[in-house]
Amino acid sequence: MSRAIDAAEVRRRTRELLAAHPPATTGRTDFLRARFDAGLAWVHYPVGLGGLDAPRSLQQVADAELAAADAPDNDPRRIGIGLGMAAPTVLGFGTDEQKRRFLRPLWVGEEVWCQLFSEPGAGSDLAALATRAVRDGSGDWIVDGQKVWTSSAHLARWAILIARTDPDQPKHRGISYFICDMTDPGVEVRPLRQITGEAEFNEVFLTGVRIPDSHRLGPVGEGWKVARTTLMNERVSIGGSRIPREGGMIGPVARTWRERPELRTPDTHQRLLTLWVEAEVARLTGERLRQQLVAGQPGPEGSGMKLAFARLNQEISGLEVELLGDEGLLYGDWTMVRPELVDFTGRDAGYRYLRSKGNSIEGGTSEILLNIVAERVLGLPAEPRNDKDVAWKDLSR
């Protein structure tokens, strides 16, 4: 190692990158590749894989320099699943070859990723999944099954996939974790229309999909352990971002309140104030969690943040539709579209009301999250279970 990585060193390296590849005259992809190779993609990642083995908190130093120089970014919202879920899992469980092959195009955004986890018969009880992966004579895996609620599947080059490799084992033990090529002829992607009218998600049908063993992540039969890393990162990415005051769902309804005095009633005023206070407290709770992470004292608050935001989004958008009265009876547009980006606060109040219903279902239902808080944070006894020591093939379905 040359010198210790501190803020000054990150700044120096960022300026070096900007000098060698001026954003004004460098193509976007070329710039992002160079940024990755300079270790400034995610500084807490290892050297050679887009990072500098530096503390995560130093990323903001690089980001600030890059933003000031008008450098292009990798449009993180378009590749959220790759960045938030696939990347930490590949980093944690991948072979050196897998890390070298997948992380750079993932971060640069040349290859979009999706997640093939949930199934029609395996939602909250994800470990009961029924998609099968069977090894054929060549050593490749042949995958058959159906996945659901897959965002970006129609855009993705790769998927992280969990499938059952041993039905004779209890459900958590017979699962393996794979990287699936979405261009395989056995992959069929169909849009899944939801209550908002649009199709953010897909159903994915897997029929004889061939996956080489070199695309397995982690040991055979230990896919559940690997998947837990992915899911932990999902919850962090859903609940962990910093927002300004009135930055969330409360923003539009507060603006409507200020701009349209004719809509105000004593009842909606009381409810608005209660929700405004709760939204502000949720914002502060998120900010406190962020400060704990920066100080290297991560707390269990993350699992609570998703619970809080799901409930608030639903109650606030519900109030907004009611506040609008006559207009609340209308809906913007029921046309079936496949949006590339999801914005919970985008579109009209009716959309917000309907879309937010998913906030307490996606990424772990609120009921499951309450169990997790009760058992892992508060140490309350687990539910009595009858599925732990039974072979998956003998479970009722």
Partner: protein, 372 residues
């Protein structure tokens, strides 16, 4: 159209190492001198206060002088540290005139700008813990609503918290702010029967009492408002400590208590109620720290931070105490178990320095969300 006011700076919502050390000292003292049977027994006596506890807390640890600059005889700390003391006092529902004397009365005197006059001398005594003072306004008075002043040092103020044990009353009147000794002629402090036995209430009657004028009417109103704002803001920390105790005890009890051959804490309906409570406590901590930090830094955001903290934390403390009683089952209804002390304190706190509703009214004004 008006945008929402953004906080002027990012508040520090964590605890410093010094604050954690202070917490340890206060908790050790309260564990030693204010366990639940002691507090219950004290509430059945003439006065719930333990003078040795107060002198250890106020003088020994120096908690009484946290808000007071060193040159005026205090510790030169801030509302952040005082908030930590209140978290611990709330956790123990310990009877001690800390919020009323060391926060509200002290902050009121600090607002007068103590420059050697009688206010400055009194401030030094309060900071050292040798004397206590209370603001002679009803405990329910919200910071934004200081219209309850007497015309002069003549009349009755009902519902004054912790006046019985105080040495000095700070009395706002139409003539200005007076300091009056509680044992002076013409001063009667009549105990009332309070819902919360750990925080006595009194009716203060003044009949031609002589007092020392500390400030004129305008300065008095501003100072009282600032005192009550600090009181309301730091009350959120007391409510946080109280709620945290209720959650911890409820989790402990439901893990140990067996019915139907299972710990009752393994039933999902109970687990979910405790998980919801945990989220409320976590959120209350952020709100209370934000208010304490805003007061400590003199942030222009302080009135809104305090209103948000009170509008939120009052309900959390009451909910936590109510769940504590219910999830303890029959034992939670007994006089012997301390749950009732927490319920009574939480309910009284939800009225003290303004109800959640009155703080939401302040939010409406401060966040530009006007009534119809």
């Amino acid at each position: 159209m008006t945008a929402p006011t953004q906080p002027s700076a990012t508040p520090d919502l964590l605890y410093t190492r010094d604050e954690e050390d202070l917490r340890s000292a206060v908790r050790a003292l309260l564990t030693d001198r204010a366990d639940a049977p002691t507090v219950i027994a004290a509430t059945e006596s003439d006065t719930p206060y333990d003078p040795r506890l107060w002198s250890s807390l106020a003088t020994g640890i120096g908690a009484a002088g946290l808000l007071v600059p060193e040159e005026l005889g205090g510790q030169g700390a801030s509302h952040r540290e005082a908030a930590v003391v209140l978290e611990e006092l709330g956790r123990a529902v310990a009877p001690a005139p800390y919020l009323t004397s060391s926060v509200v009365a002290t902050e009121t005197l600090l607002a007068l700008g103590a420059d050697g006059g009688p206010a400055g001398a009194l401030l030094g005594e309060l900071a050292s813990g040798t004397r206590t003072a209370v603001l002679a306004v009803p405990f329910a008075t919200a910071p934004a609503r200081v219209d309850t002043a007497l015309a002069s040092l003549d009349g009755t103020v009902r519902g004054v918290a912790e006046a019985a044990a105080a040495d000095v009353l700070l009395v706002p009147t139409a003539e200005g702010l007076y300091a009056v000794g509680t044992t002076d002629p013409g001063v009667a402090v009549q105990p009332l029967v309070p819902l919360d036995l750990t925080r006595p209430l009194s009716a203060v009657t003044l009949t031609g009492a002589a007092g020392t004028l500390l400030a004129d009417a305008d300065a008095s109103t501003a100072a009282v408002r600032r005192g009550l704002l600090a009181g309301a803001g730091l009350l959120a920390s007391e409510q946080l400590g109280l709620a945290e105790w209720c959650l911890t005890e409820t989790v402990r009890h439901t893990r140990e208590r067996h019915q139907f051959n299972r710990p009752v804490g393994s039933f999902q309906s109970l687990k979910h109620r405790m998980a919801h409570l945990w989220l409320e406590v976590v959120s209350a901590r952020a709100a209370a720290r934000n208010a304490a930090d805003a007061l400590a830094t003199g942030s222009p955001d302080a009135p809104l931070a305090v209103a948000v903290a009170q509008a939120y934390c009052s309900g959390v403390a009451v909910h936590a105490a109510e769940e504590c009683v219910q999830l303890h089952g029959g034992i939670g209804m007994t006089w012997e178990h301390p749950a009732h002390l927490y319920l009574k304190r939480a309910k009284a706190d939800s009225i003290a320095y303004g109800t959640a509703g009155s703080h939401r009214r302040a939010v409406a004004e401060l966040a530009d969300l006007p009534a119809p």
